[in-house]
Amino acid sequence: MNTITPPEYLPEPAHATRRFRSEKFDFWSFCFSGLTGLATLFIVGILAVILLNILYNGWGGFSWHFVSTIPKKDFFDIKTTGVLPMIVGTAFRVIVMTIFVIPVGVITAIYLTEYAPNSSIITRIIRAAVNNLAGVPSIVFGLFGLGFFINFVGKNLDKLLLNTDAVWGQPALIWASLTLAVMTLPVVIVATEESLKAIPPGLREASLALGATKLETILRIVLPQALPGIMTGGILAVSRAAGEVAPILFTGVAYYMASLPSHLSDQFMDLGYHVFVLSTQSPNIEQTRSLLYATVMTLLLLTFALNLVAILIRARVRKKLRALG
């Protein structure tokens, strides 16, 4: 450490050599760092409490039997109940959603990063629409699914196919999935765009310089590189959709189904909705507590495992992005 020795004729102040500004104890600095640090700690604490509480209480009721049993009509009975139809229903609707949302989301992201003129009005409108879609309340998506998919598309489809009974014009798995696809579209677009931007422009230029067309460059060079990002987007969309209940309330979820859903026009049981039913309509909340916790834990394990994978891939993509500057 370089210190300037004061001239002989000045009296040396106590500890003068060690008193750099940043090292001196500053009351306000201490308070400020402490408060903001506490806020951070508090948030992390909330997360930890929620997770530990659910894991601690849910572990007891969780078993292979629990996740592989189709419950009888009275699913409040701890001994015979299970969550298999809910897991299957949730998985089914999420898979159908993915089939719709990934292509549309990825193509939109490709347009925005590769083709769109940056300052044009239409690009800005698309971006504004994507941002807006991300902010629409989930219950409004539910209303939209009911008003558009069921009451408009479904009913007209029934008329076209000359169905006398309502087959498509009623709550069904496909409508729930499509509603969720609209809802998670921004998630896929944003994640894909991020990963497309992380690809060095040099790669594209090299490909074009070698005579490849723009489309070939995108299909053979850009997309394979962007795959982790696209996967992140897909996983995030899936984990968001798996936990959402509000959009499927009127578009396809059922309180109880005796069999597993097998057709796109079937209704289905759902893990998130089941949590809602168990916690608000239980005849005896103390008795069904372990059942409730086990169901919540199943849902949480499902969404969290997905989220964790997405966050890890995303961290890698971001690091790459930062390295590019």
Partner: protein, 381 residues
């Protein structure tokens, strides 16, 4: 000869590009469709197309021709499309059914003044009304029963109450954490804290609602000793937990995007770390923090499951320790029992449309503020 351009040169490329462009318009299409179809179901309310009066002047079936088609349509509560498709015989049958229904009104309502009014009129939707049996004008949301009361003010109050509690809880915590993580924390702490807080957004809202219902409600009651276990306060705090990650990540992003030179200049002039953070970085990033709050508001106002699980009674009260019913909750809880196409159904869709408009505006404000903020930091490109 000459050089071919556009689709003549590379037809496949040209088609692919147009296709990609067309697909990318789907986001715009979806926003438009949402607006269109939610509004479509709600439109009759705006134009007085719904009538809930129990006792209406009866039009005898024989006098059908004396009335205009528009009048008949409104009398029978049909949509224009439905009305067009019906022939005279069906209409006659419907008129008979209507008369029968009007005759079936219980005796006690014959003298009730409330039975004569259309409760979906704007007057009764937003202004207090002195219903039979009450001693003063009141705001009441009570969509079941013979006389359906659709006053939406209690729902607005409930929504605002819960949202404000949520924001008052979430904004200081989230912004404080954002300052700490982006400005003060050591790199290693930062690398760890950021994804952990972002993980909070991975918790489904139904799980947060469950946690608030089973655990938090009892703990908070133990601390504050209020009477009702499930109230707007618990719902608000739970809502706050749900919006913390939203506000945190936007605020953190805004704080990080303040140029390094600002911080370095301040430090070089002898400011301490917290002085730099508080007096230089935070003011510079203030628009971003404001936008984070606005977007958090949009998220909180639209959150459904948490409030639905924690409290649901619609009481007209500003007290935070009373129950509250938000707009989203009302839609979620009552849509299943509302008759498809009936007044209740229409009003729920109208509430949805209002909610959509509110979040649309708050999103737009947030986006514009962030856009300007980034432009300013980049030196007005």
């Amino acid at each position: 000869m000459g050089i071919h351009r556009g689709y003549q040169a590379r037809p496949v490329e040209w088609v692919a590009e147009k296709f990609i462009f067309a697909v990318s318009l789907s986001a715009i299409l979806m926003v438009l469709l949402i607006f269109l179809f939610v509004a479509r179901e709600a439109l009759p309310v705006f134009f007085g197309g719904t009538n809930t009066a129990l006792i209406q002047p009866v039009i005898p079936t024989a006098e059908m021709d004396k009335h205009s088609p528009a009048e008949l349509r409104r009398y029978l509560e049909l949509t224009p499309g439905e009305f067009q498709k019906m022939d005279k015989e069906t209409l006659k049958a419907l008129m008979d059914v209507k008369i029968e229904a009007l005759n079936e009104v219980p005796e006690q309502f014959r003298t009730d003044a409330d039975a004569h009014i259309n409760t979906t009129d704007w007057r009764y939707l937003v202004l207090p009304h002195q219903w039979t049996g009450y001693d003063k004008p009141e705001y009441i949301w009570q969509p079941v029963g013979q006389i359906k009361k659709f006053n939406i003010i209690p729902l607005f109050v409930g929504t605002l109450k819960v949202t404000m509690i949520g924001l008052l809880f979430a904004v200081p915590l989230a912004v404080g954490a954002a300052i700490y993580v982006s400005q003060l924390a050591r790199p290693r702490v930062r690398e760890l804290a950021k994804p952990v807080i972002e993980m909070l957004s991975g918790i489904p809202s139904v799980v947060t609602g469950f946690f608030a219902l089973i655990v938090m409600a009892s703990v908070l009651q133990g601390i504050f000793h209020y009477d009702t276990r499930l109230n707007a306060f618990v719902a608000g705090i739970a809502l706050g937990i749900a919006v913390i990650p939203v506000i945190f990540s936007i605020a953190e992003d805004a704080l990080t995007s303040v140029p390094r030179t600002y911080t370095q200049a301040a430090l070089a002039l002898g400011a301490s770390r917290w002085q730099t953070a508080w007096q230089i970085v935070l003011p510079a990033a203030l628009p971003g923090v404001f936008a984070a709050t606005v977007l958090g508001f949009g998220r909180a106002i639209g959150e459904t499951m948490i409030v639905l699980m924690v409290c649901s009674a619609s009481v007209m009260s500003w007290s935070i320790f009373d129950s509250a019913r938000s707009i989203t909750t009302t839609i979620a809880a009552e849509m299943a029992e509302a008759v498809n196409g009936g007044p209740h159904y229409r009003i729920l869709f109208m509430l949805g449309a209002l909610l959509f408009a509110a979040t649309f505006v708050s999103n737009m404000v947030g986006e514009v503020v962030i856009y300007r903020f980034k432009q300013k930091l980049e030196g007005k490109k």
